[in-house]
């Protein structure tokens, strides 16, 4: 199943030094809005652009010709108050039956109750560990760093 990544998920894995490993996982995607939100971090943005070019990361956007998807996006923006990256990812995931990866609790709760499969960064980290992409010590170190970032906020 395709998993739509929210902006901060990519940022967490970059800060944990595991972005390249993450991008090795199959079926990951972002929206153009997320890609734009990543532009504030030069190195991360450049790496994501390369990943898109190399087809490690797919890009799916709200289809302007699909009224359901457009309406979902508008509701997530204007009824539920989500950012553009979140709202586009949620609309695409919801309408196309994709998964959604976010650490935003409100976004996760909203879309989970609509039947969308929701993941968070620990799920992806565990998937990397189980697939042998990271060693147990790398796993522990990365989890420690990401939790540190979240505590800092």
């Amino acid at each position: 199943m395709v998993r739509m990544l929210d902006t901060m998920i990519l940022r967490y894995f970059e800060r944990a030094g595991l972005l390249d490993v993450l991008l090795g996982l199959p079926d990951l995607a972002i929206t153009t809005s997320v890609r734009r939100e990543l532009r504030r971090w030069d190195v991360l943005s450049a790496r994501v652009d390369t990943a898109v070019q190399n087809q490690e990361l797919a890009v799916y956007d709200v289809d302007p010709g699909n009224e359901t998807e457009g309406t979902l996006y508008f509701f997530y923006r204007e009824r539920d108050g989500f950012g553009d990256g979140e709202a586009t990812s949620m609309a695409v995931a919801h309408n196309r039956g994709f998964g959604f990866v976010s650490h935003d609790l409100a976004a996760a709760a909203k879309i989970r109750e609509l039947g969308v499969n929701v993941l968070d960064w620990p799920d992806l980290l565990a998937e990397l560990r189980d697939a042998g992409g990271v060693t147990p010590s790398q796993y522990a170190e990365a989890a420690h760093r990401i939790r540190g970032m979240l505590r800092g906020r």
Binding site: T32, S33, D61, P64, E67, T71, R77, G81, G83, E86
Partner: protein, 380 residues
């Protein structure tokens, strides 16, 4: 369910920027006939094209998915050919801000309604005298008494609910604009100008807003001689620097007008939120300062450098892009959990970390909620 018609929204946004189909299609890299078909809904717009159109038309993505009829309709008083592209972009920015105000009202549960008092001015009246009279009435209505108004932005926000946004428009004759969507109104000020001028521009645009609600007014220096412009200029000068208030300030500071120094003019300018030149011009206009003395003062004074030496407010001080009420509504919306952190960052035009830091700083300034003890035995 919203009636989504992306093509019509593209057409509407294009019209707001004053672009022809040929101009927009060239920028988009498609044939004019292709764009025409997109606007008529006969050809599907791809996601890539929509992102590109959003960028070209200076609109957020959600604009194209908004129900039809929600967007503010502008009525331009100024002829189309007088509007340069930066001015049109500024107007679109103002429209976007009005739209954000609507969203913030819903998210924060706060209503923004400007309390503007419309004046009707006889078309035959002398605009300079009419401007002065309306300025006097408006000072009384806003209970300004004999106080200078060094920060007109805050005064208008607190006393009339009219929000003023800052927007940087370099190398343009554009000074400011007034927008109203029927329920809420806002001003947009070009912050490329120094504060003395932004304060004056605010007063000038405010004059237009209380005379003609429902329009967006574009002030371009190309047409300063119209009756409306003379009215607004007269209003601004008399609202910010009326004779009686200047006289009182001079008397209070024990200034001898015959021997007035440039430092004293600078001090008065700071007190009135005006530039050195505007203050001196006003003093000459009222005959308080002789024109010969005024000429000498202009020659010997470097206003900006001297203001800094004297520790007076820097006339070039920043005019924040967002008014305080708007920011508070965004913080309230986040506190109510009506918006996510990334949406808060979008409203504030900040990175998420900085938006959160500002939010934390804002919560620290808020009084803790009052707790009321319910006496025992009562039904709460």
């Amino acid at each position: 369910m919203p009636d989504i018609d992306v093509g019509r929204k593209v057409s509407e946004a294009r019209a707001h920027l004053g672009l022809t189909q040929a101009e927009l299609s060239a920028r988009l890299g498609v044939a004019r006939s292709t764009l025409a078909e997109m606007e008529m809904g006969r050809r599907r717009i791809t996601a890539d094209e929509l992102y590109r159109l959003a960028e070209l038309l200076r609109r957020p993505l959600q604009y194209f998915f908004s129900p039809l009829g929600v967007a503010t309709l502008f009525a331009f008083r100024t002829a189309k050919e007088e509007l340069d592209e930066p001015a049109r972009e500024a107007l679109v920015h103002l429209d976007n801000r009005l739209s954000e105000m609507r969203s913030l009202e819903r998210f924060s549960g706060t209503i923004i309604r400007s309390r503007l008092h419309p004046y009707s001015v006889d078309k035959q009246a002398n605009p300079t005298i009419a401007g002065r009279n309306v300025a006097r009435m408006e000072r009384v209505r806003l209970a300004l008494g004999s106080s200078p108004v060094p920060n007109l932005r805050d005064t208008l926000e607190q006393r009339t609910g009219l929000l003023a946004f800052g927007y940087y428009v370099p190398a343009s004759g554009f000074s400011g604009a007034f927008g109203c969507d029927g329920e809420r109104a806002a001003l947009l000020i070009n912050v490329a100008h120094v504060r003395g001028r932004t304060n004056f521009t605010l007063a000038h645009e405010y004059a237009h807003s209380i005379i003609g609600q429902g329009d967006v007014h574009v002030e371009l220096r190309a047409s300063p001689d119209s009756a409306e412009e003379r009215f607004a200029d007269s209003f601004a000068a008399n609202f910010l620097m009326p004779l009686d208030v200047i006289e009182e300030a001079i008397e209070y500071a024990a200034i001898d007008p015959i021997r007035i120094s440039s430092d004293q003019v600078l001090m008065l300018a700071s007190q009135f939120g005006a530039s050195f030149e505007a203050m001196l011009g006003r003093l000459e206009h009222f005959g308080i300062v002789e024109r010969n003395l005024g000429r000498d003062l202009r020659k010997e004074t470097k206003p900006l450098a001297r203001s800094r030496q004297l520790g007076l407010s820097d006339p070039r001080a920043e005019f924040p892009a967002l008014p305080m009420t708007y920011q508070q509504m965004a913080f309230l919306s986040f506190r109510n959990e009506s918006i996510s952190l990334s949406r808060l960052a979008e409203f504030l035009d900040l990175e998420m970390d900085e938006a959160y830091a500002r939010y934390v700083a804002w919560t620290a300034t808020m009084a803790p909620p009052k707790t009321t003890e319910v006496p025992s035995g009562t039904n709460a």
